[in-house]
Protein backbone atom coordinates (compact mmCIF):
# COMPACT_ATOMS: atom_id res chain seq x y z
CA UNK A 1 0.00 0.00 0.00
CA UNK A 2 2.54 2.53 1.17
CA UNK A 3 4.78 1.40 -1.64
CA UNK A 4 2.15 2.31 -4.19
CA UNK A 5 1.49 5.60 -2.54
CA UNK A 6 5.14 6.56 -2.60
CA UNK A 7 5.43 5.56 -6.24
CA UNK A 8 2.39 7.58 -7.06
CA UNK A 9 3.83 10.59 -5.31
CA UNK A 10 7.10 10.31 -7.16
CA UNK A 11 5.35 9.83 -10.44
CA UNK A 12 3.47 13.01 -9.80
CA UNK A 13 6.85 14.49 -8.98
CA UNK A 14 7.67 14.26 -12.67
CA UNK A 15 4.48 16.06 -13.58
CA UNK A 16 5.12 18.66 -10.90
CA UNK A 17 8.60 19.24 -12.26
CA UNK A 18 7.14 19.65 -15.73
CA UNK A 19 4.49 22.05 -14.44
CA UNK A 20 7.20 24.01 -12.65
CA UNK A 21 9.14 24.24 -15.88
CA UNK A 22 6.04 25.46 -17.69
CA UNK A 23 5.44 28.08 -15.01
CA UNK A 24 9.06 29.17 -15.07
CA UNK A 25 9.01 29.69 -18.81
CA UNK A 26 5.62 31.35 -18.66
CA UNK A 27 7.01 33.96 -16.29
CA UNK A 28 9.93 34.64 -18.60
CA UNK A 29 7.99 34.64 -21.83
CA UNK A 30 4.40 35.72 -21.49
CA UNK A 31 3.51 34.37 -24.92
CA UNK A 32 4.31 30.84 -23.75
CA UNK A 33 1.05 29.73 -22.25
CA UNK A 34 -1.26 31.62 -24.55
CA UNK A 35 -3.77 29.36 -26.29
CA UNK A 36 -2.36 30.15 -29.68
CA UNK A 37 1.17 29.18 -28.70
CA UNK A 38 -0.03 26.04 -26.98
CA UNK A 39 -1.86 25.07 -30.14
CA UNK A 40 1.22 25.90 -32.16
CA UNK A 41 3.38 23.63 -30.04
CA UNK A 42 0.83 20.86 -30.21
CA UNK A 43 0.70 21.21 -33.95
CA UNK A 44 4.47 21.12 -34.16
CA UNK A 45 4.75 17.99 -32.03
CA UNK A 46 1.94 16.22 -33.80
CA UNK A 47 4.24 14.77 -36.45
CA UNK A 48 6.79 13.48 -33.95
CA UNK A 49 3.90 12.49 -31.72
CA UNK A 50 2.15 10.57 -34.45
CA UNK A 51 5.29 8.54 -35.08
CA UNK A 52 5.86 8.07 -31.36
CA UNK A 53 2.45 6.42 -31.03
CA UNK A 54 3.46 3.51 -33.24
CA UNK A 55 6.95 3.36 -31.81
CA UNK A 56 5.42 3.07 -28.33
CA UNK A 57 3.81 -0.20 -29.37
CA UNK A 58 7.16 -1.43 -30.66
CA UNK A 59 8.97 -0.39 -27.49
CA UNK A 60 6.34 -1.89 -25.18
CA UNK A 61 6.74 -5.10 -27.17
CA UNK A 62 10.40 -4.97 -26.15
CA UNK A 63 11.86 -3.84 -29.47
CA UNK A 64 13.21 -0.66 -31.07
CA UNK A 65 12.49 1.18 -34.28
CA UNK A 66 15.23 3.48 -35.53
CA UNK A 67 14.01 3.48 -39.10
CA UNK A 68 11.02 5.79 -38.62
CA UNK A 69 12.99 8.94 -39.48
CA UNK A 70 14.07 7.85 -42.92
CA UNK A 71 10.72 6.14 -43.38
CA UNK A 72 9.07 9.50 -42.77
CA UNK A 73 11.28 11.06 -45.43
CA UNK A 74 10.48 8.43 -48.01
CA UNK A 75 6.77 8.44 -47.29
CA UNK A 76 6.59 12.22 -47.41
CA UNK A 77 8.29 12.17 -50.77
CA UNK A 78 5.87 9.51 -51.92
CA UNK A 79 2.74 11.24 -50.73
CA UNK A 80 3.71 14.54 -52.32
CA UNK A 81 4.88 13.01 -55.54
CA UNK A 82 1.85 10.77 -55.85
CA UNK A 83 -0.50 13.63 -55.05
CA UNK A 84 0.85 15.30 -58.13
CA UNK A 85 0.45 12.11 -60.11
CA UNK A 86 -2.84 10.63 -58.88
CA UNK A 87 -4.44 13.26 -56.74
CA UNK A 88 -4.60 13.21 -52.94
CA UNK A 89 -7.02 10.34 -52.37
CA UNK A 90 -5.04 7.68 -54.13
CA UNK A 91 -1.75 9.20 -52.97
CA UNK A 92 -2.80 8.85 -49.35
CA UNK A 93 -3.81 5.26 -49.92
CA UNK A 94 -0.50 4.50 -51.59
CA UNK A 95 1.39 6.15 -48.75
CA UNK A 96 -0.45 4.23 -46.09
CA UNK A 97 0.23 1.01 -47.96
CA UNK A 98 3.90 1.90 -48.41
CA UNK A 99 4.19 2.66 -44.70
CA UNK A 100 2.53 -0.61 -43.90
CA UNK A 101 4.89 -2.42 -46.24
CA UNK A 102 8.00 -0.85 -44.74
CA UNK A 103 6.74 -1.65 -41.25
CA UNK A 104 5.90 -5.17 -42.34
CA UNK A 105 9.43 -5.69 -43.61
CA UNK A 106 10.87 -4.64 -40.26
CA UNK A 107 8.29 -6.80 -38.57
CA UNK A 108 9.15 -9.76 -40.71
CA UNK A 109 12.84 -9.57 -39.89
CA UNK A 110 12.51 -8.71 -36.23
CA UNK A 111 9.31 -10.53 -35.38
CA UNK A 112 9.27 -13.57 -37.58
CA UNK A 113 12.98 -14.12 -38.19
CA UNK A 114 13.87 -12.82 -34.76
CA UNK A 115 16.82 -10.70 -35.83
CA UNK A 116 18.15 -7.98 -33.59
CA UNK A 117 15.84 -4.98 -33.74
CA UNK A 118 18.52 -2.33 -33.36
CA UNK A 119 20.51 -3.61 -36.29
CA UNK A 120 17.55 -4.44 -38.50
CA UNK A 121 16.09 -0.99 -38.15
CA UNK A 122 19.50 0.65 -38.56
CA UNK A 123 19.92 -1.28 -41.78
CA UNK A 124 16.44 -0.18 -42.75
CA UNK A 125 17.41 3.43 -42.01
CA UNK A 126 20.28 3.20 -44.43
CA UNK A 127 18.25 1.30 -47.00
CA UNK A 128 15.32 3.71 -46.96
CA UNK A 129 17.66 6.67 -47.31
CA UNK A 130 19.01 5.06 -50.44
CA UNK A 131 15.53 4.27 -51.67
CA UNK A 132 14.43 7.85 -51.15
CA UNK A 133 17.32 9.14 -53.22
CA UNK A 134 16.63 6.59 -55.89
CA UNK A 135 12.96 7.50 -55.95
CA UNK A 136 13.29 11.25 -55.97
CA UNK A 137 16.50 11.44 -57.92
CA UNK A 138 17.66 13.76 -55.18
CA UNK A 139 15.40 16.65 -56.02
CA UNK A 140 12.74 18.25 -53.88
CA UNK A 141 9.17 17.57 -54.75
CA UNK A 142 6.37 20.03 -54.28
CA UNK A 143 2.65 19.79 -54.42
CA UNK A 144 1.93 21.42 -57.75
CA UNK A 145 -1.67 22.34 -57.11
CA UNK A 146 -1.73 24.65 -54.14
CA UNK A 147 -5.50 24.55 -53.79
CA UNK A 148 -5.92 20.79 -53.35
CA UNK A 149 -7.79 19.47 -50.33
CA UNK A 150 -4.59 17.64 -49.49
CA UNK A 151 -3.57 20.87 -47.76
CA UNK A 152 -6.19 20.26 -45.09
CA UNK A 153 -4.17 17.68 -43.12
CA UNK A 154 -1.32 20.00 -42.25
CA UNK A 155 -2.87 23.40 -42.59
CA UNK A 156 -6.58 23.06 -42.04
CA UNK A 157 -8.37 23.23 -38.75
CA UNK A 158 -11.47 21.90 -37.11
CA UNK A 159 -13.40 24.11 -34.67
CA UNK A 160 -10.34 26.29 -34.39
CA UNK A 161 -8.06 23.35 -33.58
CA UNK A 162 -5.32 22.69 -36.13
CA UNK A 163 -5.95 19.57 -38.18
CA UNK A 164 -2.68 17.86 -37.23
CA UNK A 165 -3.58 18.22 -33.57
CA UNK A 166 -7.01 16.75 -34.24
CA UNK A 167 -5.52 13.82 -36.14
CA UNK A 168 -2.89 13.27 -33.49
CA UNK A 169 -5.37 13.48 -30.63
CA UNK A 170 -7.80 11.12 -32.31
CA UNK A 171 -5.08 8.63 -33.17
CA UNK A 172 -3.70 8.85 -29.65
CA UNK A 173 -7.12 8.21 -28.20
CA UNK A 174 -7.74 5.26 -30.48
CA UNK A 175 -4.32 3.76 -29.92
CA UNK A 176 -4.44 4.36 -26.18
CA UNK A 177 -7.65 2.37 -26.21
CA UNK A 178 -6.05 -0.31 -28.36
CA UNK A 179 -3.06 -0.63 -26.08
CA UNK A 180 -4.98 -0.59 -22.82
CA UNK A 181 -8.24 -2.23 -23.61
CA UNK A 182 -7.90 -4.68 -26.45
CA UNK A 183 -6.61 -8.18 -26.92
CA UNK A 184 -3.88 -6.91 -29.19
CA UNK A 185 -2.73 -4.41 -26.58
CA UNK A 186 -2.66 -7.04 -23.89
CA UNK A 187 -0.64 -9.30 -26.16
CA UNK A 188 1.85 -6.47 -26.72
CA UNK A 189 2.38 -6.11 -22.97
CA UNK A 190 2.71 -9.85 -22.54
CA UNK A 191 5.25 -10.21 -25.33
CA UNK A 192 7.29 -7.27 -24.09
CA UNK A 193 7.09 -8.44 -20.49
CA UNK A 194 7.93 -12.08 -21.08
CA UNK A 195 7.96 -13.43 -24.58
CA UNK A 196 8.35 -17.05 -23.56
CA UNK A 197 5.42 -16.93 -21.19
CA UNK A 198 3.34 -15.26 -23.88
CA UNK A 199 4.19 -18.06 -26.30
CA UNK A 200 3.26 -20.66 -23.70
CA UNK A 201 -0.07 -18.87 -23.37
CA UNK A 202 -0.85 -19.43 -27.02
CA UNK A 203 0.06 -15.92 -28.08
CA UNK A 204 1.99 -15.83 -31.31
CA UNK A 205 4.77 -13.46 -30.32
CA UNK A 206 6.06 -13.33 -33.88
CA UNK A 207 2.75 -12.07 -35.13
CA UNK A 208 2.40 -9.56 -32.32
CA UNK A 209 5.83 -8.05 -32.95
CA UNK A 210 5.11 -8.06 -36.66
CA UNK A 211 1.87 -6.20 -36.06
CA UNK A 212 3.58 -3.67 -33.79
CA UNK A 213 6.02 -2.80 -36.56
CA UNK A 214 3.21 -2.59 -39.09
CA UNK A 215 1.49 -0.15 -36.79
CA UNK A 216 4.67 1.85 -36.47
CA UNK A 217 4.88 2.00 -40.26
CA UNK A 218 1.27 3.08 -40.42
CA UNK A 219 1.56 5.89 -37.89
CA UNK A 220 4.70 7.04 -39.67
CA UNK A 221 2.69 7.13 -42.90
CA UNK A 222 0.05 9.28 -41.23
CA UNK A 223 2.84 11.52 -39.93
CA UNK A 224 4.17 11.73 -43.47
CA UNK A 225 0.78 12.80 -44.77
CA UNK A 226 0.62 15.54 -42.18
CA UNK A 227 4.19 16.51 -42.99
CA UNK A 228 3.64 16.57 -46.72
CA UNK A 229 0.54 18.62 -46.27
CA UNK A 230 2.10 21.02 -43.79
CA UNK A 231 5.05 21.65 -46.05
CA UNK A 232 3.19 21.04 -49.32
CA UNK A 233 6.38 19.46 -50.50
CA UNK A 234 9.14 17.13 -49.44
CA UNK A 235 12.85 17.17 -49.09
CA UNK A 236 15.23 14.24 -48.94
CA UNK A 237 16.36 15.19 -45.47
CA UNK A 238 13.05 16.12 -44.00
CA UNK A 239 12.88 13.29 -41.48
CA UNK A 240 16.56 13.09 -40.73
CA UNK A 241 17.27 12.48 -37.08
CA UNK A 242 13.59 12.19 -36.21
CA UNK A 243 14.07 8.61 -35.03
CA UNK A 244 16.08 9.79 -32.06
CA UNK A 245 13.67 12.60 -31.22
CA UNK A 246 10.79 10.14 -31.35
CA UNK A 247 12.63 7.72 -29.12
CA UNK A 248 13.55 10.52 -26.74
CA UNK A 249 9.87 11.43 -26.49
CA UNK A 250 8.85 7.85 -25.80
CA UNK A 251 11.55 7.40 -23.19
CA UNK A 252 10.82 10.75 -21.60
CA UNK A 253 7.26 9.59 -21.12
CA UNK A 254 8.65 6.75 -19.06
CA UNK A 255 8.09 3.79 -21.34
CA UNK A 256 10.87 1.40 -20.48
CA UNK A 257 13.19 0.30 -23.25
CA UNK A 258 13.14 -3.17 -21.73
CA UNK A 259 9.55 -3.62 -22.82
CA UNK A 260 6.45 -4.70 -20.99
CA UNK A 261 5.50 -1.33 -19.58
CA UNK A 262 4.43 2.06 -20.83
CA UNK A 263 1.38 3.77 -22.17
CA UNK A 264 0.21 6.00 -24.96
CA UNK A 265 -0.75 8.69 -22.47
CA UNK A 266 2.79 8.82 -21.17
CA UNK A 267 4.18 8.98 -24.68
CA UNK A 268 1.91 11.90 -25.47
CA UNK A 269 3.13 13.54 -22.28
CA UNK A 270 6.75 12.84 -23.18
CA UNK A 271 6.41 14.20 -26.68
CA UNK A 272 4.54 17.23 -25.42
CA UNK A 273 7.28 17.82 -22.85
CA UNK A 274 9.89 17.76 -25.58
CA UNK A 275 7.86 20.18 -27.66
CA UNK A 276 7.24 22.60 -24.83
CA UNK A 277 10.86 22.46 -23.71
CA UNK A 278 12.05 23.33 -27.19
CA UNK A 279 9.41 25.97 -27.72
CA UNK A 280 10.00 27.46 -24.29
CA UNK A 281 13.74 27.68 -24.75
CA UNK A 282 13.24 29.18 -28.18
CA UNK A 283 10.83 31.72 -26.77
CA UNK A 284 13.30 32.62 -24.07
CA UNK A 285 15.75 33.20 -26.86
CA UNK A 286 18.41 30.74 -25.89
CA UNK A 287 20.75 29.71 -28.67
CA UNK A 288 20.11 26.26 -30.07
CA UNK A 289 23.14 24.71 -28.40
CA UNK A 290 21.88 25.75 -25.01
CA UNK A 291 18.63 24.06 -25.98
CA UNK A 292 20.57 20.88 -26.68
CA UNK A 293 22.35 21.07 -23.36
CA UNK A 294 19.10 21.60 -21.51
CA UNK A 295 17.49 18.71 -23.41
CA UNK A 296 20.36 16.51 -22.26
CA UNK A 297 19.81 17.49 -18.68
CA UNK A 298 16.07 17.12 -18.83
CA UNK A 299 16.11 13.67 -20.44
CA UNK A 300 18.43 12.35 -17.80
CA UNK A 301 16.65 14.03 -14.94
CA UNK A 302 13.19 12.99 -16.05
CA UNK A 303 14.10 9.37 -16.67
CA UNK A 304 15.97 9.26 -13.40
CA UNK A 305 13.00 10.52 -11.44
CA UNK A 306 10.72 8.13 -13.25
CA UNK A 307 13.02 5.21 -12.63
CA UNK A 308 13.09 6.04 -8.95
CA UNK A 309 9.32 5.80 -8.92
CA UNK A 310 9.36 2.41 -10.57
CA UNK A 311 12.17 0.90 -8.54
CA UNK A 312 11.30 -2.13 -6.55
CA UNK A 313 8.21 -2.73 -8.60
CA UNK A 314 9.50 -6.11 -9.67
CA UNK A 315 11.81 -8.30 -7.66
CA UNK A 316 15.19 -8.61 -9.27
Amino acid sequence: MSLHFAALLRRHGLLVAFALFLALVAVQAEAFLTPSNVLDVLRQVSIIGMMALGVTFVVVAGRLDLSVGSMLTLLTVIVVDRTNAFGPGLAILVTLLAGLAAGAWNGLLVGVFRLNALIVTLAMLSFLQGLTLAYSGGSNVNVADGTTWFAAFGRGSLWGIPAPVVIFALSAAVLAFVLKRTRFGRAIFAVGGNETAATYSGIDARLVVFAAYCLSGLTTAIAAIIMGSRVMGAQNTIGQGYELTVLAGVILGGTSLLGGSGSIGRTVLGVAMLGFIQNGLLLMGYPYYVQWLVTWGIIILAVWIDLGAKRGRILA
Partner: protein, 307 residues
Protein backbone atom coordinates in the same frame (compact mmCIF):
# COMPACT_ATOMS: atom_id res chain seq x y z
CA UNK B 1 33.48 12.26 -79.72
CA UNK B 2 37.18 12.63 -80.11
CA UNK B 3 37.03 16.05 -81.69
CA UNK B 4 37.89 18.75 -79.20
CA UNK B 5 34.80 20.72 -78.18
CA UNK B 6 34.71 24.34 -79.14
CA UNK B 7 34.82 25.71 -75.62
CA UNK B 8 38.04 23.87 -74.91
CA UNK B 9 40.23 26.36 -76.67
CA UNK B 10 43.01 23.87 -77.27
CA UNK B 11 43.86 20.34 -78.24
CA UNK B 12 42.93 17.15 -76.43
CA UNK B 13 45.83 15.21 -74.99
CA UNK B 14 43.80 12.04 -75.07
CA UNK B 15 40.29 11.18 -76.15
CA UNK B 16 37.52 12.37 -73.88
CA UNK B 17 36.39 8.79 -73.39
CA UNK B 18 39.70 8.06 -71.69
CA UNK B 19 39.65 11.17 -69.58
CA UNK B 20 38.74 10.28 -66.03
CA UNK B 21 37.18 12.87 -63.83
CA UNK B 22 35.97 12.51 -60.25
CA UNK B 23 33.35 14.82 -58.84
CA UNK B 24 32.35 14.99 -55.20
CA UNK B 25 29.34 17.09 -54.38
CA UNK B 26 28.59 18.40 -50.87
CA UNK B 27 25.24 16.71 -50.21
CA UNK B 28 23.02 16.15 -53.24
CA UNK B 29 20.49 14.35 -51.09
CA UNK B 30 19.84 17.44 -49.04
CA UNK B 31 18.39 19.99 -51.43
CA UNK B 32 17.14 20.57 -54.90
CA UNK B 33 19.97 22.79 -56.00
CA UNK B 34 22.60 20.22 -55.19
CA UNK B 35 20.50 17.44 -56.61
CA UNK B 36 20.20 19.35 -59.86
CA UNK B 37 23.92 20.03 -59.80
CA UNK B 38 24.72 16.33 -59.36
CA UNK B 39 22.19 15.38 -61.99
CA UNK B 40 23.67 17.87 -64.43
CA UNK B 41 27.15 16.63 -63.68
CA UNK B 42 26.09 13.07 -64.50
CA UNK B 43 24.26 14.11 -67.64
CA UNK B 44 26.85 16.52 -68.94
CA UNK B 45 29.82 14.21 -68.44
CA UNK B 46 27.86 11.47 -70.17
CA UNK B 47 27.10 13.83 -73.00
CA UNK B 48 30.78 14.63 -73.37
CA UNK B 49 31.61 10.96 -73.18
CA UNK B 50 33.87 11.42 -70.18
CA UNK B 51 34.70 8.60 -67.83
CA UNK B 52 33.31 10.34 -64.80
CA UNK B 53 32.18 9.56 -61.25
CA UNK B 54 29.86 11.68 -59.18
CA UNK B 55 30.01 11.10 -55.44
CA UNK B 56 28.00 12.14 -52.43
CA UNK B 57 29.87 12.59 -49.16
CA UNK B 58 26.59 13.40 -47.40
CA UNK B 59 27.99 16.61 -46.05
CA UNK B 60 30.63 14.83 -43.99
CA UNK B 61 34.14 16.28 -44.44
CA UNK B 62 35.82 13.11 -43.27
CA UNK B 63 33.96 11.09 -45.89
CA UNK B 64 34.79 13.62 -48.57
CA UNK B 65 38.40 13.49 -47.43
CA UNK B 66 38.30 9.73 -48.05
CA UNK B 67 36.70 10.20 -51.43
CA UNK B 68 39.40 12.60 -52.54
CA UNK B 69 42.02 10.14 -51.36
CA UNK B 70 40.34 7.29 -53.18
CA UNK B 71 40.18 9.32 -56.38
CA UNK B 72 43.83 10.25 -56.07
CA UNK B 73 44.79 6.63 -55.72
CA UNK B 74 42.87 5.93 -58.92
CA UNK B 75 44.98 8.52 -60.71
CA UNK B 76 42.08 10.56 -61.97
CA UNK B 77 42.86 13.16 -64.59
CA UNK B 78 41.11 15.83 -62.59
CA UNK B 79 39.02 16.08 -59.47
CA UNK B 80 36.12 18.45 -58.91
CA UNK B 81 35.35 19.15 -55.29
CA UNK B 82 32.35 20.95 -53.96
CA UNK B 83 33.79 21.13 -50.49
CA UNK B 84 31.94 20.20 -47.35
CA UNK B 85 34.40 22.20 -45.32
CA UNK B 86 36.62 25.16 -45.93
CA UNK B 87 39.68 23.80 -44.26
CA UNK B 88 39.24 20.19 -43.39
CA UNK B 89 39.95 19.03 -46.90
CA UNK B 90 43.18 20.95 -47.39
CA UNK B 91 45.43 18.01 -46.53
CA UNK B 92 43.55 15.71 -48.92
CA UNK B 93 43.60 18.26 -51.72
CA UNK B 94 47.26 18.88 -50.99
CA UNK B 95 47.83 15.15 -51.30
CA UNK B 96 46.07 15.00 -54.65
CA UNK B 97 47.99 17.97 -55.90
CA UNK B 98 51.30 16.43 -54.80
CA UNK B 99 50.30 13.29 -56.69
CA UNK B 100 50.01 15.51 -59.77
CA UNK B 101 46.25 15.46 -59.97
CA UNK B 102 44.65 18.84 -60.58
CA UNK B 103 41.83 19.76 -58.23
CA UNK B 104 39.05 22.18 -59.10
CA UNK B 105 36.90 23.53 -56.34
CA UNK B 106 33.36 24.21 -57.31
CA UNK B 107 30.61 26.33 -55.79
CA UNK B 108 32.33 27.14 -52.49
CA UNK B 109 36.02 27.86 -52.20
CA UNK B 110 38.30 26.23 -49.69
CA UNK B 111 40.27 28.14 -47.09
CA UNK B 112 43.23 30.38 -47.88
CA UNK B 113 45.70 27.79 -46.67
CA UNK B 114 44.67 25.37 -49.38
CA UNK B 115 44.30 27.67 -52.33
CA UNK B 116 47.79 26.95 -53.56
CA UNK B 117 46.86 23.30 -54.12
CA UNK B 118 43.83 24.17 -56.19
CA UNK B 119 44.14 24.47 -59.95
CA UNK B 120 41.04 26.59 -60.33
CA UNK B 121 37.87 27.65 -58.63
CA UNK B 122 34.49 28.05 -60.27
CA UNK B 123 31.06 28.88 -59.05
CA UNK B 124 28.92 31.46 -57.41
CA UNK B 125 30.05 33.32 -54.38
CA UNK B 126 28.07 32.49 -51.27
CA UNK B 127 29.45 35.54 -49.61
CA UNK B 128 28.32 37.85 -52.38
CA UNK B 129 24.90 36.21 -52.36
CA UNK B 130 24.55 36.79 -48.66
CA UNK B 131 25.62 40.41 -49.13
CA UNK B 132 23.08 40.83 -51.87
CA UNK B 133 20.42 39.47 -49.55
CA UNK B 134 21.43 41.96 -46.89
CA UNK B 135 21.14 44.75 -49.44
CA UNK B 136 17.75 43.61 -50.73
CA UNK B 137 16.34 43.25 -47.25
CA UNK B 138 17.72 46.57 -46.07
CA UNK B 139 16.29 48.25 -49.08
CA UNK B 140 12.89 46.60 -48.79
CA UNK B 141 12.69 47.76 -45.18
CA UNK B 142 13.62 51.24 -46.11
CA UNK B 143 16.75 51.08 -44.05
CA UNK B 144 15.26 50.33 -40.69
CA UNK B 145 13.26 47.60 -39.06
CA UNK B 146 13.49 44.46 -37.05
CA UNK B 147 14.28 41.11 -38.57
CA UNK B 148 14.70 37.48 -37.66
CA UNK B 149 17.08 35.03 -39.28
CA UNK B 150 16.47 31.37 -40.10
CA UNK B 151 19.80 29.61 -40.44
CA UNK B 152 20.91 26.42 -42.14
CA UNK B 153 22.54 23.56 -40.23
CA UNK B 154 25.07 25.34 -38.07
CA UNK B 155 28.73 24.68 -38.54
CA UNK B 156 28.89 24.05 -42.28
CA UNK B 157 30.74 26.38 -44.63
CA UNK B 158 27.71 27.57 -46.54
CA UNK B 159 25.90 28.37 -43.33
CA UNK B 160 28.85 30.24 -41.97
CA UNK B 161 29.35 32.33 -45.13
CA UNK B 162 25.68 33.07 -45.52
CA UNK B 163 25.53 34.20 -41.95
CA UNK B 164 28.70 36.21 -41.49
CA UNK B 165 28.70 37.97 -44.85
CA UNK B 166 25.05 38.88 -44.37
CA UNK B 167 25.63 40.24 -40.90
CA UNK B 168 28.70 42.23 -41.93
CA UNK B 169 27.04 43.77 -44.91
CA UNK B 170 23.88 44.57 -42.99
CA UNK B 171 25.83 46.22 -40.20
CA UNK B 172 27.76 48.29 -42.73
CA UNK B 173 24.96 49.36 -45.01
CA UNK B 174 21.87 49.32 -42.82
CA UNK B 175 22.90 49.86 -39.22
CA UNK B 176 19.31 50.63 -38.27
CA UNK B 177 18.09 47.17 -39.15
CA UNK B 178 18.22 45.19 -35.93
CA UNK B 179 18.21 41.46 -35.54
CA UNK B 180 15.68 40.19 -33.05
CA UNK B 181 16.85 36.62 -33.10
CA UNK B 182 18.59 34.01 -35.17
CA UNK B 183 17.90 30.26 -34.96
CA UNK B 184 18.85 27.32 -37.14
CA UNK B 185 16.34 25.20 -39.02
CA UNK B 186 18.88 22.84 -40.57
CA UNK B 187 17.94 23.55 -44.20
CA UNK B 188 14.69 21.82 -43.32
CA UNK B 189 11.53 23.41 -44.60
CA UNK B 190 9.33 22.00 -41.88
CA UNK B 191 11.68 23.07 -39.15
CA UNK B 192 11.90 26.52 -40.68
CA UNK B 193 8.16 26.71 -40.39
CA UNK B 194 8.30 25.65 -36.76
CA UNK B 195 11.00 28.19 -35.95
CA UNK B 196 9.11 30.95 -37.71
CA UNK B 197 5.90 30.09 -35.91
CA UNK B 198 7.70 30.46 -32.64
CA UNK B 199 9.21 33.76 -33.71
CA UNK B 200 5.75 34.98 -34.61
CA UNK B 201 4.42 33.95 -31.24
CA UNK B 202 7.26 35.69 -29.51
CA UNK B 203 7.57 38.88 -31.47
CA UNK B 204 4.22 39.11 -33.22
CA UNK B 205 4.02 42.20 -35.36
CA UNK B 206 7.46 43.39 -34.39
CA UNK B 207 8.94 41.33 -37.20
CA UNK B 208 9.39 43.39 -40.34
CA UNK B 209 11.64 41.09 -42.26
CA UNK B 210 13.08 37.60 -42.42
CA UNK B 211 16.30 36.34 -43.84
CA UNK B 212 16.39 32.62 -44.58
CA UNK B 213 19.59 31.00 -45.75
CA UNK B 214 17.89 29.30 -48.66
CA UNK B 215 14.67 29.33 -50.56
CA UNK B 216 13.47 26.02 -49.14
CA UNK B 217 13.51 27.40 -45.64
CA UNK B 218 12.09 30.63 -47.00
CA UNK B 219 9.09 28.65 -48.18
CA UNK B 220 8.68 27.28 -44.66
CA UNK B 221 8.76 30.84 -43.40
CA UNK B 222 6.10 31.85 -45.88
CA UNK B 223 3.91 28.94 -44.76
CA UNK B 224 4.20 30.18 -41.20
CA UNK B 225 3.33 33.72 -42.27
CA UNK B 226 0.29 32.49 -44.12
CA UNK B 227 -0.69 30.45 -41.08
CA UNK B 228 -0.45 33.56 -38.91
CA UNK B 229 -2.85 35.40 -41.20
CA UNK B 230 -0.30 37.76 -42.71
CA UNK B 231 -0.77 39.25 -46.14
CA UNK B 232 1.84 39.15 -48.87
CA UNK B 233 4.42 41.83 -48.25
CA UNK B 234 3.51 42.40 -44.58
CA UNK B 235 6.77 40.77 -43.70
CA UNK B 236 9.66 40.97 -46.14
CA UNK B 237 11.17 37.58 -46.78
CA UNK B 238 14.61 37.47 -48.32
CA UNK B 239 16.51 34.30 -49.12
CA UNK B 240 19.43 33.11 -51.16
CA UNK B 241 19.26 31.01 -54.25
CA UNK B 242 15.79 30.85 -55.77
CA UNK B 243 13.89 27.59 -56.27
CA UNK B 244 10.95 27.04 -58.58
CA UNK B 245 8.36 27.28 -55.86
CA UNK B 246 10.01 30.39 -54.50
CA UNK B 247 9.66 31.94 -57.93
CA UNK B 248 5.90 31.32 -57.72
CA UNK B 249 5.71 32.81 -54.25
CA UNK B 250 7.65 35.84 -55.34
CA UNK B 251 5.20 36.46 -58.11
CA UNK B 252 2.44 36.27 -55.56
CA UNK B 253 4.26 38.80 -53.47
CA UNK B 254 5.32 36.64 -50.53
CA UNK B 255 9.01 36.77 -51.29
CA UNK B 256 10.82 40.04 -51.40
CA UNK B 257 14.25 39.20 -52.62
CA UNK B 258 16.58 36.39 -53.53
CA UNK B 259 19.10 35.63 -56.20
CA UNK B 260 19.28 33.40 -59.16
CA UNK B 261 21.88 30.77 -59.17
CA UNK B 262 21.87 28.03 -61.73
CA UNK B 263 23.08 24.59 -60.71
CA UNK B 264 23.26 23.74 -64.39
CA UNK B 265 25.65 26.57 -65.19
CA UNK B 266 27.51 25.85 -61.98
CA UNK B 267 28.10 22.18 -62.81
CA UNK B 268 28.89 22.73 -66.46
CA UNK B 269 31.43 25.41 -65.74
CA UNK B 270 33.17 23.19 -63.22
CA UNK B 271 33.31 20.24 -65.60
CA UNK B 272 34.52 22.29 -68.53
CA UNK B 273 37.22 23.77 -66.35
CA UNK B 274 38.22 20.32 -65.18
CA UNK B 275 38.52 19.07 -68.74
CA UNK B 276 40.61 22.10 -69.66
CA UNK B 277 42.91 21.62 -66.72
CA UNK B 278 43.23 17.93 -67.46
CA UNK B 279 44.40 18.83 -70.94
CA UNK B 280 46.91 21.33 -69.71
CA UNK B 281 44.98 24.33 -70.97
CA UNK B 282 45.39 27.55 -69.07
CA UNK B 283 42.35 28.64 -67.02
CA UNK B 284 41.70 31.69 -64.88
CA UNK B 285 42.25 31.16 -61.19
CA UNK B 286 38.67 31.97 -60.36
CA UNK B 287 35.61 31.90 -62.60
CA UNK B 288 32.37 33.15 -61.15
CA UNK B 289 28.89 32.32 -62.23
CA UNK B 290 26.51 35.18 -61.97
CA UNK B 291 24.02 35.38 -59.16
CA UNK B 292 21.80 38.26 -60.14
CA UNK B 293 19.41 39.66 -57.59
CA UNK B 294 15.81 38.62 -58.13
CA UNK B 295 13.06 40.85 -56.80
CA UNK B 296 9.34 41.10 -57.56
CA UNK B 297 10.20 43.82 -60.04
CA UNK B 298 12.36 41.69 -62.27
CA UNK B 299 11.17 38.20 -61.45
CA UNK B 300 9.27 37.80 -64.69
CA UNK B 301 12.44 38.34 -66.61
CA UNK B 302 13.79 35.09 -65.22
CA UNK B 303 12.68 31.67 -66.25
CA UNK B 304 11.04 29.61 -63.51
CA UNK B 305 13.84 27.46 -62.07
CA UNK B 306 13.32 23.77 -62.70
CA UNK B 307 14.80 22.82 -59.28
Amino acid sequence: QDAAPEWLGGALKKPLSETRIGITVLYPGSNAYQAKYAETAEAYTAELGLDATVMDPQGDPATQFNQIQDMSSQNMDAIVVWPTSQNALIPAIGGASRAGIPVITSNSPIGEGGRRYVAAHTGPDDCIQAEQSAEMLGEALGGSGEIVVVEGTPGYTVSILRKNCFLDRLADAYPDVTILESQPADWNRERAQTVMETFLTKYGDEIDGVYAFDDGMGLGVVSALKGAGKQPGDVKVVTCNQFGEGWDQMREGWMTGTNKQSPVDDAILAIQTAVKVANGIEVPETQKIDTPKVTPDNVDAFERPSW
